[in-house]
């Protein structure tokens, strides 16, 4: 019996040795994912670099919810300035009202959206650089020295871009690079300026990116893109004299601006043309979904009976529309007298007066107006004549206008928009285009008191505008289109004012305005003056006050909460 017992116990122990193979039994492999070791290859590093580009559209996945991180920066750059209203109705996306009214609190979800998207982009750049280093120092196949430089330059260019987007909005942001461990990054302080690192990244890109797109891929920045971006950063740092040669290099590398078509910048068919310096590539996924498309601008899809039916955000202001008015010489009203007796479309009319409203085609406008804004009675792209309120959610709240640069032609819908959600399009968004560079160069020239050069550059932009065919209604122009040339920039102050105004007209609704106003130090004056005018028509926007604190956004509260004391509020 005893022996039997021993045998049984032995058998049990034998069964227990099943435990000895438990080690492998308990080793499982992630499903549908790869671990870092598997990524330390040339291909893994390249693919991670593609991933770093993938955040340029401000979107991780899905379509809704990425408005604040739109590459167009319509929310902060335009709604946050005098060019556009949030639109829709007052109660929709109320946190965006805070941005429009400059009452932003740290819990505004738009801040969080912008912050997280940018840092995800940065993380991908850093992972690329980490893997590059591991591959080059590893035992397996390596990059050629040339491609290794390019990969590093591309990743640093992108990192510079993401940090620039963060820096100009939040000012005090923690700097994380490929050498920062995750643990350090958690509590990393946001004290200290990140501009030197941004500058260094773009400098590296300038030094190492080839003259043509790396790998021949249109989405990758070339040397010219790096120069333009570095110049822009330097301009934000008020280092105009260093920026100007870079801008001049960019200008020299492209056809003269007056030979290019203004509207080509906003059409699917002519994307990535000669004017595009660095653009976010948007496309519709093979399955028809829109994650890689221009989702940042989707809320600007019109409301009502328009061919796209969405949410009715992003409506141009009366102030912007009227700023396109020109005097007898075809020049803008630099003294803001365009606000006298403003053009209001059919706003405020009721009953039959509204029904029978007819477009006044005798108003003198810069033709860029009708490529920037949709207004009642004027044909809008190939969508037909803009019918007024029928495309607008609440005209009494945000006016009678719709925006014009982010939409595509109806004939392009099929291949370039999400079926059933045509407000999500494949239209690229230019981060820097040539006209921007011209006007930045003009600023630098004016700063250096080279007023003739500044005037030359502005006039080239205006010359190009004058080539723009006006929009016709029933065979006659929708307005008395006119664009004249400046004959003289008598003073530096006048020159700057003209450049500022030209920047507004040329780049309206492209996300520059708020940042320009802050950079120029005139945000308070411009926005409060705008509020008085705009508020006289749309009461919601009366009495906006702009304080110094409104020049930067609060650090998102949740990010502060998560940082273990690392982040300090602005």
């Amino acid at each position: 019996m005893k022996r039997k017992l021993v045998i049984y116990i032995a058998a049990f122990v034998a069964v227990g040795t099943f435990g000895s193979c438990s080690r492998s039994f308990l080793e499982k492999t992630p499903q549908g994912q790869l671990v870092t070791d598997q990524m330390q290859t040339v291909e893994g590093c390249e693919a991670t670099l593609i991933g770093a580009y993938g955040l340029l559209n401000g979107n991780l996945d899905g379509t809704w919810g990425n408005y604040a991180s739109a590459p167009s920066q319509w929310l902060f750059g335009e709604v946050g300035a005098d060019n556009a209203h949030k639109g829709s109705v007052n109660s929709d996306q109320p946190n965006m009202n805070q941005i429009e009214l400059h009452q932003v609190t740290s819990t505004n979800d738009n801040l969080e959206v912008m912050w997280t998207r940018c840092y995800e982009g940065i993380a991908r750049c850093n992972t690329t650089l980490f893997l590059l280093n591991a591959v080059q120092n590893g035992s397996g196949a390596k990059f050629t020295a040339e491609r290794a430089k390019e990969v590093e330059a591309e990743a640093r260019f992108l990192r510079g871009h993401y940090y620039f987007f963060l820096r100009r909005l939040f000012k005090n942001v923690p700097y994380i690079d490929e050498n920062t461990s995750t643990t350090e990054a958690i509590t990393k302080s946001n004290e200290g300026d990140v501009y030197p690192m941004i500058e260094a990244d773009f400098k590296f890109a300038v030094d190492n990116l080839p003259a043509t797109h790396p790998q021949g891929d249109i989405g990758r920045p070339d040397n010219i893109a790096a120069k333009a971006y570095l110049g822009k950063v330097l301009l934000y740092l008020n280092r105009q004299s260093e920026a100007l040669p870079l801008f001049n290099d960019v200008i020299a590398s492209r056809p003269s601006i007056e030979t290019l078509d203004f509207d080509d910048n906003f059409k699917i068919a002519t994307e990535n043309g000669p004017e595009s310096i660095f653009a976010v590539q948007h496309t519709i996924n093979p399955d028809g979904s829109g994650d890689n498309a221009n989702v940042g601008d989707m809320l600007a899809g019109f409301y009502g009976s328009a061919p796209v039916n969405c949410c009715g955000f992003f409506q141009p202001t009366f102030d912007l529309v009227n700023s396109f008015r020109v005097d007898a010489n075809g020049l803008p009203f630099l003294d803001n007298s365009y606000r006298t007796n403003p053009y209001k479309s059919d706003f405020g009319l009721t009953g039959t007066a509204k029904e029978n409203y007819a477009l006044n085609q005798t108003i003198a406008f810069d033709p860029r107006l009708d490529y920037t804004v949709g207004r009642r009675g004027v044909p809008y792209k190939d969508w037909g004549v803009m019918p007024g309120d029928a495309w607008i959610r609440d005209p009494s709240y945000a006016g009678p206008f719709v925006a014009g640069k982010h939409t595509i032609f109806e004939t392009e819908f099929a291949a370039n928009s999400v079926s059933g959600a045509n407000y999500v399009t494949g239209l690229n968004v230019n981060i820097i285009r040539l006209a921007d560079v011209y006007l930045m160069a003009a600023e630098c020239a004016a700063d250096a008191n080279d007023l003739d050069e500044a005037k030359r550059l502005v006039n080239l932009i205006r010359e190009r505008a004058s080539h723009l065919p006006g929009v016709s209604v029933n065979g006659s122009p929708a307005a008395a289109y006119n664009v004249g040339q400046y004959t003289d920039f008598p003073t530096k102050e006048y020159a700057m004012n003209a450049i500022h105004f030209e920047r507004r007209l040329e780049l309206a609704l492209e996300g520059h305005r708020y940042f320009d106003l802050v950079r120029w130090g005139i945000a308070k004056q411009v926005i409060e003056s705008y509020s008085a005018f705009e508020g006289s028509i749309l009461s919601s926007f009366l009495g906006i006050t702009f304080d110094a604190s409104d020049e930067v956004m609060p650090i998102p509260q949740t990010q502060i909460d998560r940082s273990g004391g690392g982040l300090k509020q602005n």
């Binding site: 039997k4 049990f12 039994f25 308990l26 992630p30 340029l56 993380a123 989405g219 028809g288 009494s396």
Partner: protein, 1117 residues
């Protein structure tokens, strides 16, 4: 001889204890037949104890065992005291056993008081009448891998009265657990096939708080709707660590042990149970919305209150076209919509029905004509219905001493009170058991297969509260204006298309369009096992359990152009997936009993392996709409999408348990389990979970023998550690991922996508097991020969190294998933009281009743989060943030501003702390803090604080069961006291944040003439501070509900059809009879809203419980 005899006695004692332990196994799920040594076991007994076989005085005793009602006690155990010899009574109660004069026969059966009879010379026939027992003390219950008598339990184990549980007509057995055991909180909703929340002794973690189920010995995690309550035989809840830690790594949230019905020897017995009834929405609880006239006035006030002449009411630009242009007197429109004309602008020509053109896929030609419902639509009424519920269950069981079987099949069908929703289930079960070699070797199986079908809007939720939210039909019923009719003039759905009708969806249309959405689940769960008695008292057991679940579903999208934000999209998507899990358990059990000593040693190993895979795909743009025969993926033209994913995990465990009792008076139990999990990395793959408990049966002490009223008194104390590993897999590895959506980029030409990678999941190589240390002190007592009994328990449960997905700042992880970390601490302390009174059972009186009361109090506190995280807000919904995790507060505490009334006048605004945009008539908040932690005179987000708790102060329930002759009555009350509910629906109905419906509550809003200090005045340009999360939303969630009342009658069938009908009972049941509560929402049972962590008790529009009336019959043949 003396020595030999001693050995023989020892041997027989071992054998007896083996038989005993086997009996325990036999009465448990682990062994599915009452194969307590049968008459045919005799040779075994004889061969085992040759000493007895040579005894010349032995003779054959025969007899019958009956109850007081003179019915045979089938399966009663008859054992010769001090020997291993035992037999069981057959279906007539008859038995036959060998014994000698002066032997003592012990006769026992569950539910009866045990009896001893001494064999006297010359008498070979004994007819025994057993008394009914009040006491469950001798009931044998399954605990962890073994079973014990209730009286020997040393841990906190609740034995659920399955009979009472079954009185509640619900799909899921867990739902019926409500109020049936102390320390167990169930929160459910009315969706057919709902997944209730079950919490045992509170929330132990911010992660998954669901208990582990052990069904017939096989562990299972997940929802339980596949299991038919009728198949359940016993249910035990292991509440404290000393009871549960044998299940180690998965026992933190308690363990629910279920055994299913097993066969009994004897002729085949057929049982039929069925009921049919109606579920009626409790219409009196529907929230009241303003009628169109009231709403128009409210809307005009809201514009007037802006004080801005430009926003005066009665202009198209402000109040729109519906209510006319008189700024003082709104009028109602006849039409809401005719083509593009709206409200009072609709002319007779516009409303010409010949213009009507319902083209769902073309918004340009779509021409709808909708009349205003001037009386107002009651959307809750329109979307709900009285719905049938029915259940049929047929079971057969029987067998002989070598083979027993139990087979059952059932059908359950429940329509939802929300129209076009429902759930049905078909299930079959088979439990069999065979024994060989004189019962030394036994094999058996338990198998269940169920097929479930969920259809309609939001019924197949795998997480409680999955479909709660603004997107649900119930959510929209709070948002859609009452002036909108359900249908337009031609009978198609009307909606919010029109002027300023907001963006609510027609909930009836939503329900209707989802009617063909269907989810199905094929679920197989079962095990096969073998047991071998190696030597006396030593039993080896192996069990291989398998769970295979295959699920799938289709859902449809239809154009909804009647909706203001509607579209022309149509589409169909479908999904398929499976979960596969096997569990292999091997145990060795040794039982030793001698004199005053009783020892049981259990050792075992267990391996669990799990794999799952999921596939889904969808398209839109189908050529025709609504034809289910046409809807296959290939027929769709656009939005082609597809995805798949999967998971693998494994667990390996070694465990042991020792139970020792001395003189039945001093009981000690110790367990140890060592678990290894694929969820953890090399640094912390394994963990140990020890536990120990002691009990002292005071009533057995000699000094207590004179206390005659005290039947039993036992003091228990236990301490132990359990674990939790229920987090997503591979947290210890940094993982890179490519998906089209997340990391691709059209780098080459701006069109074609190139594949990119990103770090989707960050790693924490040091991740380890979450641990819960719990102490339990309990007292069990039985008084007055079982007339009273009760249990008191006090516990302290502290979770340390809590697995917490510490949300890391984006600077560290971008938008990748933060890894779980072991950082938090959470504490639950509480006490539980269960008291029962029984009358009339012991002496089988005509009138009998039971009274049971349960009381449970639990205090939950989050003690610490990660060092880097001082607090974590979640429950984000539009601009609301409802909930916070904060040390010192309970899990899921509500978070927001503390209201301080209403700003009464301009001075009040000027002199009180205020926020940017504060106004007269607006909500006033308390100035609690500033940026430096001190009140600063202004209201900013710093002033947000904890404003309520979703956890009740206590739960209570009362059970009454009475029987008079053939009539029986049971009533069950369930109560929850002291919790709060975040009534998030007020966001829509009270603040005018959307055009839509408004609560009649707002009729009492602040105005110059009605200076309310609670209800804010309507305003159109309200500042978002006003509808931010605040105590305005916080409501008392206490309630007392008569959950269930049942009246039954048992027919005297003895003489019917020659006694072929063994029993026949008919009953009438009403469920959710009444609810006493102050809560103003539709139902005070609010589950949770899934978020980063569950947002508990946040009511975005729940699926309310219905009142049910049903009639049922149970019959046995």
């Amino acid at each position: 001889m003396k020595k030999e005899r001693r050995i023989a006695v020892v041997k027989s004692a071992i054998r007896l204890s083996f038989l005993h332990s086997f009996a325990i196994l036999a009465t448990s799920s682990l062994a599915h037949a009452n194969t307590y040594a049968t008459a045919n076991l005799e040779p075994l007994a004889v061969s085992a104890a040759s000493f007895y076989s040579s005894n010349p005085q032995e003779m054959t005793i025969t007899g019958t065992v009956v109850g007081k009602d003179n019915q045979p006690v089938i399966g009663a155990a008859i054992q010769v005291k001090g020997t291993s010899r035992g037999v069981i009574a057959d279906e007539k109660g008859a038995f036959s056993i060998k014994a000698k004069v002066n032997d003592v026969l012990m006769i026992s059966s569950i539910g009866y008081a045990a009896q001893e009879v001494t064999v006297v010379a010359g008498k070979t026939t004994y007819n025994i009448v057993l008394d009914n027992s009040n006491s469950t003390l001798d009931e044998v219950v399954v605990t962890g891998y073994s079973s014990q008598k209730v009286k020997d339990l040393t841990g906190a184990v609740a034995v659920v009265s399955v009979d009472q549980m079954k009185r509640q007509p619900v799909a899921s057995p867990t739902e019926a657990l409500q109020g049936k055991a102390t320390g167990v909180q169930i929160v459910t909703d009315g969706a057919p096939g709902a997944t209730p929340i079950i919490r045992i002794r509170g929330y132990s973690t911010i992660n998954n708080n669901d208990p582990l189920y052990v069904i017939d010995g096989v562990p299972y995690e997940g929802k339980l709707s596949w299991l038919n309550s009728a198949d359940i035989e016993t249910m035990q809840i292991l509440k404290d660590a000393s009871a549960a830690s044998i299940y180690g790594s998965r026992a933190n949230n308690g363990v629910v042990i279920i055994t299913t019905k097993r066969g009994k020897p004897g002729q085949a017995r057929v049982n039929l149970d069925m009921y049919y009834g109606s579920q009626n929405p409790v219409r009196s609880r529907f929230p009241d919305m303003m009628n169109p006239t009231q709403y128009a006035n409210y809307l005009f006030d809201a514009f007037r209150n802006t004080g801005d002449p430009a926003k005066a009411p009665g202009q198209e630009a402000t109040t729109g076209t519906n209510y006319g242009l008189d700024p003082n007197n709104p009028t109602l429109p006849e039409y809401l919509l005719a083509g593009s004309a709206t409200g009072q602008n609709v002319t007779a020509a516009d409303a010409d029905p010949s213009k009507y053109n319902y083209t769902p896929k073309n918004s340009q030609t779509f021409y709808q004509i909708t009349k205003a419902n001037q009386k107002g639509t009651n959307w809750f009424d329109e979307m709900t219905q009285n719905a049938p519920i029915q259940s049929y269950q047929l079971g057969i069981n029987g067998g002989d001493e070598n083979a027993v079987y139990s087979i059952s099949g059932g059908y359950f069908d429940q329509e939802g009170i929300a129209k076009y929703t429902g759930y049905s289930r078909y299930n079959i079960r088979s439990n069999t058991r065979f024994s060989f070699w004189n019962n030394r070797f036994r094999i058996g199986e338990n198998m269940t297969y169920s097929y479930e079908e969920f259809y309609g809007s939001g019924v197949n939720n795998n997480t409680p509260g999955d479909y709660i939210g603004e997107g649900s039909p119930f959510g929209f019923a709070y948002r859609i204006p009452t002036i909108i009719p359900v249908y337009d003039i031609m009978g198609n759905f009307a909606g919010s298309k029109g002027d300023k009708l907001g963006n609510g969806q027609n909930p009836v249309a939503m329900l209707y369009r989802a009617k063909d959405n269907k989810n199905t689940r094929n679920f197989f769960f079962g095990n096969a096992y073998a047991e071998l008695d190696i030597i006396d008292g030593l039993t080896a057991r192996t069990s291989f359990g398998m769970r295979y679940e295959n699920y799938g579903g289709v859902s449809f999208t239809y154009p909804n152009l009647e909706f203001s934000e509607g579209g022309t999209q149509d589409g169909m998507s479908e999904y398929q997936g499976y979960n596969k899990e096997w569990t292999w358990t091997n145990t060795l059990n040794y039982k030793y009993e001698k004199g005053d000593h009783s020892l049981n040693i259990l050792g075992g190993i267990e391996a669990i392996n799990q794999k799952s895979r999921y596939l889904s795909a969808g398209r839109n743009g189908y050529f025709i709409l609504g034809n289910l025969d046409y809807y296959y993926l290939d027929a769709g033209s656009g939005n082609i999408s597809n995805t798949s994913n999967g998971g693998v995990s494994s667990l390996f465990s070694v465990f042991g348990k020792v139970d020792y009792s001395f003189m039945d008076r001093y009981l000690v139990s110790a367990t140890l389990r060592r678990d290894g999990s694929s969820n953890f990395g090399p640094e912390n793959k394994y963990a140990n979970f020890p536990a120990a408990s002691v009990a002292w049966r005071i009533s057995k002490e000699s000094f207590m023998q004179d206390v005659s009223w005290l039947t039993d008194l036992k003091l228990r104390a236990g301490y132990g550690i359990t674990g939790n590993q229920r987090i997503p897999n591979f947290q210890y590895l940094r993982r890179h991922q490519t998906t089209i959506a997340r990391a691709n980029y059209p780098i080459v030409d701006g069109k074609a996508l190139s594949s990119g990678f990103w770090v989707s999941d960050y790693d924490n190589p040091a991740i380890k097991w979450e641990q819960l240390k719990s102490t339990n002190i309990g007292l069990d007592f039985t008084i007055a020969n079982g007339s009273f009994d009760g249990t008191l328990d006090w516990y302290n449960r502290k979770t340390t190294d809590m697995l917490f997905k510490v949300p890391l700042p984006a600077a560290a992880v971008g938008m990748g998933n933060s890894p779980y970390q072991n950082v938090g601490t959470m504490k639950n302390t509480g006490f539980e009281i269960a008291l029962n009174y029984h009358y009339g059972f012991a002496d089988n009186k005509a009138f009998q009743f039971d009274l049971g009361a349960n009381f449970s109090r639990n205090i939950n506190t989050v003690e610490a989060l990660a060092p880097s995280v001082t607090q974590q807000t979640y429950g984000n919904f539009r601009s609301l943030t409802t909930t916070i995790l904060k040390p010192g507060s309970p899990f899921g505490a509500f978070y927001g501003y503390q209201t301080a009334g209403i700003y009464q006048n301009a001075d009040d605004v000027a002199n009180s702390p205020s926020y940017e945009g504060a106004r007269v008539g607006g909500l006033k908040y308390k100035d609690i803090s500033g940026p430096d932690g001190k009140p600063d005179g202004v209201i900013t987000p710093d002033d947000r604080t904890v404003i309520g708790s979703p956890h009740p102060d206590f739960l209570y329930s009362l059970n009454i069961n009475a029987r008079y002759k053939n009539f029986d009555l049971s009533m069950f009350f369930n109560g929850v006291q002291g919790n709060q509910i975040f009534e998030a629906t007020r966001y829509y109905t009270d603040f005018g944040s959307f055009d839509g419906a408004a609560s009649t509550r707002m009729l009492k809003a602040f105005s110059a003439t009605n200076p309310s200090n609670t209800t804010p005045a309507p305003i159109r340009t309200s500042n978002d501070y006003e509808y931010a999360s605040s105590s305005y939303y916080i409501q008392d969630g206490s309630y007392l509900r008569l959950k269930n009342i049942q009246i039954g009658y048992t027919f005297p069938t003895e003489k019917w059809l020659g006694g072929r009908i063994k029993n026949l009972r008919a009953y009438f049941t009403a469920t959710n009879v009444f609810t006493i509560t102050n809560y103003t929402g539709i139902d005070p049972e609010v589950t949770q809203t899934p978020s980063d962590y569950p947002a508990l008790g946040v009511d975005f529009g729940v699926y309310p419980l219905s009142r049910q009336f049903l009639f049922g019959i149970s019959a046995g043949f």
